[in-house]
């Protein structure tokens, strides 16, 4: 049962990763920067509309945001794992030092 769950989870993760990578790679879009507010992109020179919120269903955006999701979650787990490892190590070292000191006493 555990193996099946693991297998399904790994498959889902692999599919999401592949989908996001393909989507990201196949849509190299300019993100448009207009620092001087002249409605022209500073990067590609394309004339861009004045910024106005427009609600639209944009599945293409997933190509950009799903990799951020994966990177972000991976990053958090890496950082927390490092912190956990160091805290466990620190606790263990201090316990050993404490035991040795008590033995001496």
């Amino acid at each position: 049962m555990k193996k099946k769950i693991l297998l399904v989870l790994s498959l889902v993760l692999a599919l999401v990763s592949v989908f996001s990578l393909v989507a990201y790679a196949s849509e190299p879009q300019c993100t448009h920067v207009d620092a001087n507010d002249d409605n022209t992109c500073d990067l590609c020179g394309e004339i861009i509309q004045a910024k106005q919120m427009e609600f639209k269903f944009d599945p293409g955006s997933l190509g950009q945001t799903v990799p951020i999701l994966c990177t972000g979650m991976l990053g958090i787990f890496i950082v927390t794992t490092i912190i956990i490892a160091i805290v466990i190590l620190l606790n263990t070292i201090l316990e050993i030092v404490d035991k040795k000191r008590k033995n001496k006493e």
């Binding site: 919120m53 427009e54 609600f55 955006s61 945001t65 787990f77 927390t80 912190i83 620190l90 201090l94």
Partner: protein, 373 residues
């Protein structure tokens, strides 16, 4: 006497789009009502509510003053949220987390809502910088939300702040149904032993320094947030700065909170706030909180597949940073299922880990999004 001059403000109120100002008075009134009557984050909602009225008076002379506060306290290197973090750091006791450091994993998992909401907000057409700023509502941490939204220069600062603080206050309402939906009665009745191991003073002192260095190396954009939080905690734990620790916890935190609430109100002008986007942002904030809770619970269930000592999956929900409300909610739910099941120490441990993880998430979000923009 020239009465026309005296009546200018009233005349202006009924001209053009200025009726929106009156709507903002009502919104300000609602925030004040929620703060006083319902005691929902009163320290912030009350100043925000009053500030919303103040900046929405015709030709309000107060608007310039509050704008100046905004420039100094938020626009200028996000000073207010950072200084507030010193106070918050001084308030947090990391001992329950240090006795069982593995609890940090739940804090990490419960940040999923942030990144999920980023995807959803982008899907609905928000620019990446705004989507990221909206997503950070899921950090359940006001100062982090302000820091990220302001750094990314979001167009929806006020709506994000109102949503962030409102949901933090609504944790006892939002979380229980999600937790119950994701867990079985049997799972909610799982009892967890609390060993109550003593943590040495040296560990407590080294912890904030180590976390600052690691986060600083991995997510440099988060180092200001985590650094100030951990500085506050170091003042608390070092044992030789008790008066500074008390000042940071009470006077400093209160002082900054007063200014922060009214300063945020400078962004609550009718033209900026009364948009359909505000409602959408509030809805997306709920999505963030729901998926934070869901992910925390699911990680605990996943870990139960492999661990001999079963974990009560409800404690995963405390991984959001709303401290200590979330921990209390989990503890209360545990008692509801079995009145001998005390989960408070575990959930507090997870909850403080959520504080750290939300800051890391904010920093990572900033790093990744800024590298794309």
């Amino acid at each position: 006497m020239n009465f026309e001059i005296l009546l200018d403000g009233i005349k202006e109120l009924f001209s053009g789009d200025n009726w929106k100002m009156m709507v903002m008075w009502i919104i300000g009134g609602v925030l004040i009502f929620l703060a006083i009557k319902k005691e929902m984050e009163p320290t912030l909602l009350l100043p925000m509510g009053f500030g919303a009225i103040l900046v929405n008076l015709p030709d309000s002379g107060a608007a310039d003053v509050i704008d100046a506060l905004f420039d100094i306290g938020i626009n200028y290197h996000e000073l207010f949220p950072l200084i507030l973090f010193i106070g918050i750091g001084a308030m947090i006791d990391f001992e329950p987390l240090l006795t069982n450091p593995k609890l940090m994993l739940f804090g990490a998992a419960a940040q999923f809502g942030i990144f999920f909401t980023l995807c959803v907000a982008s899907l609905f057409g928000f620019e990446l910088k705004d989507a990221a700023s909206i997503a950070i509502i899921g950090a359940a941490d006001g100062p982090t939300a302000i820091f990220v939204a302001n750094t990314l220069n979001s167009n929806y600062m006020a709506a994000i702040m109102v949503a962030a603080y409102s949901y933090m206050a609504l944790v006892p309402v939002v979380q229980p149904p999600i937790i119950k939906l994701c867990t079985t009665k049997k799972e909610r009745q799982i009892k967890m032993e609390y060993t109550g191991k003593k943590v040495s003073k040296l560990t407590k002192i080294l912890f904030p320094i180590i976390v600052t260095v690691i986060v600083g190396l991995v997510a440099p954009d988060a180092v200001a947030l985590i650094g100030f939080l951990m500085f506050g905690n170091l003042i608390r734990e070092c044992g030789v700065l008790n008066s500074l620790s008390e000042t940071a916890q009470k006077v400093l935190a209160n002082l900054i909170t007063i200014f922060l609430g009214i300063t945020i109100a400078s962004q609550m002008t009718a033209n900026e706030f009364l948009k359909v986007e505000t409602l959408v942002i509030i809805a997306l904030g709920l999505v963030a909180f729901v998926f934070d809770t869901f992910a925390g619970v699911m990680l605990a269930k996943f870990m139960n597949l492999f661990s001999k000592k079963k974990i009560n999956p409800m404690i995963g929900a405390a991984g959001i940073s709303a401290f200590p409300m979330s921990a209390r909610v989990v503890h209360k739910l545990g008692l509801e299922e079995d009145n001998t099941n005390f989960l408070l120490m575990h959930s507090i441990g997870v909850n403080v880990s959520g504080q750290i993880a939300s800051v890391i998430a904010g920093g990572l979000l900033l790093s990744v999004v800024q590298s794309i923009l």
